[in-house]
Structures are given as C-alpha cells and as structure tokens.
Symmetry: C2
Subunit: 140 residues, 2 copies
DNA sequence: GGATATTATTTCGAATTCGAAATATAATTT
DNA sequence: AAATTATATTTCGAATTCGAAATAATATCC
C-alpha cells in the first residue's frame, strides 16, 4: 500500500485537471497556456527579462523564445534591451496587452478561486504546505 | 490573501517537478513521458483498448495514436483487433516490452517513492485526500 | 589584459501534442 | 431494416515543446 505511487498519480491528475481548466478559460482569447502564463507574470510583476519569465512559466527558454515571438506578433508585449546588461532582453506588456489582461484576469481569477474554494482555509494552507514539502524534495 | 491563486501555482510547480523527475528517469531508455505512461498502464493492467490507455495517460487520443505507433516501431507493444467490437484495437506489451519494464520499473518506483517519502504516512494520506477533493471539483 | 568560463538569448531540426475532420463500426431510433 | 446517433480510432496540418548548438555579452581567472 505505502510503496505505491498513487499519490503522484493523483497529483499529476489534479494538475492536469487544473491545466485543462485554465486552457479552456484562456483559449477563448486565442491564447495558449504558456502565452497566458507569460502575460500573467508580466501583468503582476511588471517588465522582466526572458529568463525570469521562463522560471515562472516552467518551460525551456527555447520554448519561451517562441512564445515571446507569437505574443509580439499579436502586439501584446514588446521587447526592450536592458541598459545594464546587453545580453538581456526585457519584456513588457503593451497597452493592448494590459487591456486584454484587465479584461481576462478577473474572470480567470474568479474561475480558479471557485476551484480552490472547495477546500476550507485550513485545508488550503495544509495543501500548500504538503505540496511545497514534496516539491522541494523533487528538485534534484 | 485568500483570493489569490498561490495554491494552484504551487500545485502546478510540484507536478512539473515530478514530471521532470520521471522524464529524467525514463529518457535514459529513449522513452518520453507518454511512452512510459502507456507502457506503465499496460504493465500493470494488462492488454487494453487505446481509449483506456488515453484516459490513464491524460493525452488526446490523436496523440495516443502517435505514441502507440512509436512504441510499435520500437517493438515494445503490439496491436490486436478486438473480437468483440471491430472498432476497438487492443494494445499489449510484447515480450521485449515486458522485459524492458521489468528492468526499468523497480528503479523508477524506488526513485519516485523516495520523493514521496519526505512525507510521513499521515501527510501522504492527507495530501491524497486534498488533491482528490480539488481534482474532483476541477473536472467541469 | 587576454584567455576562459559563465550567463542570456536565439536558432535549428526533431519530437510531441493538439483539435478537427475522416473512417469504420456499433447502437438506437423510428 | 433503414436512418440516425454514438463510439473508437486514425489521419492531417498546425502549434507547441524540447535539447543541442550557435551567438553574444559579461564575469572570472591567471
């Protein structure tokens, strides 16, 4: 019983379910999961280097280059050169990008919260604790 | 505090970490995540229709068709026609596929268990309970 | 200060994934 | 029993992802 991997299976299923929900939420605006992830980070943290966005969105940087290209084509973000370090490209939302997120995000947030809110506050806090403990171990 | 989505973020991160670990584990044998997922289901449940494998591995059936093709090319599985229903294709491990899993699986299981074992037994059970509760809500 | 190592990003080709349409068969309706 | 609807699978083209190599700039070492 205790030597099986059910816990991980359940974890992957739950995450998959959440991802599908987000995808559903966001595909109406012609965005993919990673597109939205990148916009979301920029929306909340302000302009950021490519690398930092990668770390938040959890995809390879080569994939992020592609995501950034498509978002630039859609005129939702723009790319600036960092004055401090000429290797670095700073990404920021355009006016249009910000407007889109102003429109999408509150609805998305409500939708996601309604998922979480099947848990009471103590359960939510406990879940966070357990996942963090697991996740910490999992990085190498 | 309570209206934010941190819990989901942590969930997605933990799942991502687990997936990366599995990928690492399994890429040494030239397998991808979905390849391994399919083999694992067949290894544990015996021969199954394509559809049932899909449901376990959590990818679209069009993607599963591709996965099955590549595993057939590697001679790890084979495809039989169901005698009951001529729409259905039953997939089963070849001798070679079974041997591979006999080799891989115990190591994989240990590796995965060592991740889970940062949690004590009560924590593990509680995590399962919370994830199930969340996941249930998340399906539509 | 030049050589070497490190970091940030992009490019490339290949692999994986998806959704929608196509195909084939089975089940249900009328 | 024909027509309709539902289910299982595959095919197709496009989108996304990856890892490895390339490029460019900075930091470190000698």
């Amino acid at each position: 019983m205790s030597q099986d991997l059910k816990t991980l299976t359940i974890l992957l299923r739950a995450a998959n379910a959440v991802e599908h929900r987000i995808k559903e939420d966001v595909s109406m605006y012609g965005l993919g999961l990673s597109d939205f992830g990148a916009l979301e980070v920029l929306y909340h943290k302000g302009p950021l280097p490519v690398q930092s966005i990668c770390e938040k969105v959890l995809i390879a940087n080569s994939s992020m280059s592609y995501v950034i290209d498509t978002l630039i084509k859609k005129q939702l973000i723009k790319k600036l050169k960092s004055p401090d370090d000429r290797r670095v490209h700073i990404i920021e939302l355009t006016e249009e990008g910000r407007k889109l997120m102003d429109e999408i995000y509150p609805k998305h947030q409500d939708h996601m919260r309604s998922m979480i809110d099947v848990l009471d506050q103590n359960e939510e806090i406990e879940l966070q604790r357990l996942l963090k403990k697991l996740g910490k171990q999992s990085k190498k």
